[in-house]
Amino acid sequence: MNKRETILMKGADAIGEAAVRAGCSCYFGYPITPQNEIPEYMSRRMDEVGRVFLQGESEIASINMVLGAAAAGVRAMTSSSSPGISLKQEGLSFLAAMELPAVIININRGGPGLGNIAPSQGDYYQATRGGGHGDYRMPVYAPATIQELYDFTMESFDVADIYRTPVMILGDGMMGQLVEPIIVHEREEIDLPPKDYILNGAQERPSRIIKSLILDTREMEEHNWKLKRKYDLMRTLLPRYEEFMTDDAKLVIIAYGTAARIAKGAVKRVRSNGLKVGLFRPITVWPFPDEAVLSLTKKSKVFLVFEMSTGQMVDDVRLAVSGRVDCEFYGRPGGIIPSPQEISRIIERYWMQKEL
């Protein structure tokens, strides 16, 4: 790293700064721990650059303000944590149905219910299965470092515009608080589709409507298929992942976000004891990189999924491998962050059990 360009930054601030530099014009949000530093950062920073920061009266109001801004044609973002994200599901469903771009940050905390404010990965289902009502999907990025948090937040604004979709950044309580060195860079300009759907007054053009009510069942079916084609395109183009020491791995641990960092530490530990173990880290959890997981089955006999939950992504892994390999699970829900030592002991246990 070039140390001149590198600065120390908190995850929440990195999200805010990336959004500002991605051209986010409006931030609407409601305080909830552990992501309060995001609205705090934005309240200061958006004022500096002459843009809109508004603390809504609720998560519901905030996501609907985002919807209004998106329909007006500007880049808009909201952030929250698990219980707040539950409240935003109504808005997310509407954004998906209306095909409006928006960026939603979820700093996942322990649940269900009020839960706690510790880091958790219990919102995987909610994030990757749409979350709200109706037949929709949403790209979800799961960063594992503060640099990735910055990069993917920035990139997600483009993804949102290209596909006209809400995009979620799925972090956790640790990612929001963690301070790490990052390089703060400007957004790379790319060609984006024209925003020919926005509402800004029907001046010398026919009036436009943005809506999701489609009473005619055939039309509704066609709209669903249209969305499906879009999701299929995303499934082809968006999946991202990282592989670490998988080439000769007999056992592959699969984890995302904070869990993947810990898993990587564990892989290094067991490697030093001669165990041929690798890490597969989905970067997009929707679309899930299932083809890459499937091709791993040619090399590795045993998959071990590790999540900070009781097991949600493991379903996607099992779907991807279709029974070709053993797929085991280890989880620590409720806000526990296990140490790399703990995970390396789990790996060693399976290594023995499976006689690898």
Binding site: C26, I60, A69, G201, I209, K211
Partner: protein, 250 residues
């Protein structure tokens, strides 16, 4: 012969789906006439509710964006904050505004959000089939208050306009009725005044319009207009509740 009354330009030539004698139809026309007269078509954005007027965008020939039930004022806030040059109005029924969307409405008003809400109060849930509304008056029978609304069971009718008028961010708050031709024309003037308030950047404006619902009141159109004037206007007095004429500082 000179034509002195015809369909306003920013209403599409689409027949309304509303029931015979419905106040929404009259009110749509009034809003459209005001948009025409103030020459706002090129800069106005309307936000219809979930409820009977959910299909308002089938009629208005202006930019319109749907909002989830009750979220009109939040969506309008997003619009206005990102496009302050546009005129933004929500068109909301009593369920939308006074039940599920109370928080959004109250806080938009209290922030002095420079938007206009047109609040259609017919004291009943129309779209879903005549259930009790927050504005249903005591004694009024609906499909979910079959014995007539009782204060000790269903509580009291909510007077959103009076509440909003106490908020410092609200600049123009008025209640009108569609009961007679004179009141219909007064309603139009009030809507105009609300848009002017927004144009002047004075803050939140709200026009509550008492409106008949013959179908769910289960009476004839003619009777519904009488009920409107004799009963609803008694519970909900007409008039301008608040009018601010100068911009407030921060």
């Amino acid at each position: 012969m000179k034509k002195i009354f015809s369909r306003p330009e920013c209403l599409k030539p689409t027949p309304f789906h509303y029931c015979p004698g419905c106040g929404h139809s009259i009110l749509h026309r009034l809003v459209a006439e005001v948009i025409d007269e103030m020459n706002l078509r090129g800069r106005i954005i309307g936000i219809p509710p979930a409820g009977c007027a959910v299909l308002a965008y089938d009629y208005f020939d202006i930019d319109m964006c749907e909002a989830a039930h009750g979220r009109g004022c939040a969506v309008a806030t997003g619009f206005k904050r990102s496009r302050p040059e546009c005129i933004i109005f929500t068109y909301q029924g009593d369920g939308d505004m006074a039940a599920i969307g109370t928080a959004e409405t109250l806080h938009a008003a209290n922030r002095g959000e420079n938007i206009t809400s047109i609040f259609v109060n017919n004291a009943v849930y129309g779209m879903t089939g005549g259930q009790m509304a927050p504005t249903t008056i005591l004694g009024q029978k609906t499909t979910t208050s079959p014995f007539g609304r009782r204060s000790n069971v269903e509580g009291y009718p909510l007077k959103i306009t009076e509440i909003i008028s106490t908020l410092p961010g609200a600049a123009y708050v008025a209640r009108t009725s569609l009961a007679t031709p004179a009141k219909v024309m007064a309603t139009k003037k009030t809507i105009k005044k609300a848009f002017e308030t927004q144009l002047a950047g004075l803050g939140y404006s709200l026009v509550e319009v008492l409106s008949p619902c013959p179908t769910n009141w289960k009476i004839s159109s003619i009777e519904s207009f009488k009920y409107l004037e004799e009963r609803l206007e008694l519970e909900y007095p007409l008039g301008v509740m608040k009018e601010v004429t100068t911009e407030k500082g921060s």
